[in-house]
């Protein structure tokens, strides 16, 4: 089955190059060859010149992981409690349901006022993007834990705190991982968009593609997009890897 999976991407790539060589594509679309050359430029020369791809990569990853980590550290406990204690859920629900529909990027101007244009505002926006999927999936995971397991734990002497830590969290873990993957996907997208607005230290993948746009260099723009997509894919793959290891019992 594996070989068949490669066919459509390769075919699309070939078609793309053919169309580009024939001059059929609009002026905004570079050819695959140009994109590869652009990739090399991003690494060797840097965009803006002197700001290499590696630096942009580290800056973006740093921002997304910071915001994501904070989101997860808060969202999982909150989600577990909300799933477990109906009173807590009733109290928290309005807050969650009011804030959740607001797209994270809408907060950007406010975030900049509160945290400035550095890591703070980016991490805040990413936090908002990742928090809700993780919380909601954690709640659903907790609610899906077999009540018999909870009862069994109680008859073995477990109190509330133990139930939460040793039954709810492991039991909800499959759902939590779903939430993590969704949350990370949103976080990554939000990050790039937030970086388009501007970053303080001049490094960031979103910032880099904006520079490509400013220079009207669409070859570098598409190369940057390819990198962004690849990194997003890799990060998701890492989460899936962790999921496979931790959920071996399924």
């Amino acid at each position: 089955m594996r070989k068949w999976k490669i066919i459509s991407p390769l075919a699309a790539l070939a078609l793309w190059q053919v169309l580009a060589s024939a001059g059929v594509l609009g002026r905004g679309t570079p050819s695959p060859v140009q994109v590869v050359k652009g990739l090399y430029t991003l690494i060797a020369t840097g965009l803006p010149p002197g700001y290499h791809l590696q630096g942009h990569l580290i800056a973006s990853l740093g921002r997304v992981f910071t915001g994501f980590a904070i989101a997860v550290v808060i969202a999982i406990p909150v989600g577990v409690l909300m799933g477990y204690a109906n009173v807590f859920k009733a109290v928290m629900d309005p807050l969650v349901e009011i804030v959740r529909p607001v797209p994270p990027l809408a907060w950007l101007p406010l975030a900049v006022v509160w945290f400035g244009i550095g890591l703070g505002s980016a991490a805040f926006i990413i936090f908002l993007g990742a928090f809700f999927p993780v919380v909601l999936n954690t709640i659903s995971g907790v609610k899906s834990v077999d009540p018999h397991l909870v009862e069994a734990a109680r008859t073995l002497g477990a109190r509330d705190r133990t139930i939460l830590a040793r039954v709810m969290v492991p039991g909800a873990l499959p759902s939590i991982f779903t939430g993590l993957r969704i949350g990370m996907g949103i976080a990554w997208m939000t990050l790039i968009a937030a970086e388009l607005v501007g970053v303080k230290n001049g490094y960031g993948l979103g910032y880099m593609i904006m520079a490509a746009r400013d220079f009207a260099r669409n070859d570098l723009l598409v190369a940057g997009i390819v990198v962004i997509g690849l990194v997003g894919f890799l990060v998701d793959w890492l989460i899936r890897l962790a999921e496979r290891r931790l959920l071996r019992w399924r």
Partner: protein
């Protein structure tokens, strides 16, 4: 295993009644109506009755997973206020923690007590040996057969050294052969440990094979309608004439109950 030092019955139910209120309709469902029962320490008692008559509810009340609407449950003279390791429960659905290995399932209760990991591991080993499951420690529940799962569940409960073992149709989901061997295993275990056992089943055959006392419940709202003392000695044979006679008697009695 401690045995109750003869200060009255291990378990005492007085006028125990339970009514559930259906959440959506508000209808009242009277499940148990005035159960009076004493169970002595160290005995193996079976509770039989028609399906849905409330046997499980009764066991859950003793286990502290439900609270009585009227009446009381006294364990060793004190009222039951919630679940606890001294009244261990074994569920029909096994309720093993799927994310824990066999060994870690058994050591769960010990971990909660704060036992150091090595000691907990050793003790869990021991209980797995008691239920006849050695060498399966690193398997996950999904890799086990029904019979094996139930043994792990029993080992897990035994590990916290309960003074009474409450078993809710634990062998009902097993095939006939496994079921028979599990029954033999239980009798053997009980004889070795001397724990009080209360065993709920809807199989009269099983009750006669296992129980020293067999208590019959009526249909809902249930009350105790009969108490049979089983004179047969262990180990029992299902083809024995006395066994067959007793089973027929109980079956007839219960069938009468059902048709009323």
């Amino acid at each position: 295993m401690e045995m109750n030092a003869g200060n009255g019955p291990a378990l005492s139910l007085r006028g125990l009644s339970k009514t559930f209120t259906e959440q959506k309709t508000g209808n009242a469902l009277e499940v148990l109506d005035g159960i009076d029962l004493d169970i002595e320490a160290g005995t193996l008692t079976c509770i039989v009755g028609p399906s849905g008559c409330g046997k499980t509810t009764l066991l859950r009340l003793i286990g502290g997973l439900e609270m009585p609407t009227r009446g009381e449950v006294l364990f060793e003279g004190a009222p039951v206020e919630g679940p606890g390791p001294e009244r261990g429960m074994v569920f029909q659905e096994y309720a093993l923690f799927p994310w824990r290995t066999v060994l870690k399932n058994v050591s769960f209760g010990l971990e909660i007590e704060g036992m150091p990991r090595d000691e907990a591991r050793r003790k869990a080993d021991g209980y797995l040996e008691t239920v006849g499951l050695t060498g399966h420690y690193e398997l996950y529940p999904r890799e086990l057969s029904g019979g094996m799962k139930q043994r792990v569940a029993i080992a897990r409960t035994l590990a916290v050294e309960p003074r009474i073992l409450l078993m809710d149709e634990p062998f009902a989901s097993l095939d006939a052969q496994t079921r028979n061997s599990m029954q033999e295993f239980l009798v053997d275990l009980w004889q070795r440990t001397g724990t009080t056992v209360v065993f709920v089943t809807h199989s009269v055959d099983e009750a006669v094979f296992l129980g020293q006392d067999i208590i019959g419940l009526s249909r809902r709202p249930a009350e105790v309608v009969s108490r049979f003392k089983n004179p047969l000695g262990y180990p029992r044979s299902r083809t024995d004439a006395g066994f067959i006679a007793l089973r027929a008697r109980i079956l007839e009695y219960l069938t009468e109950e059902m048709s009323e």
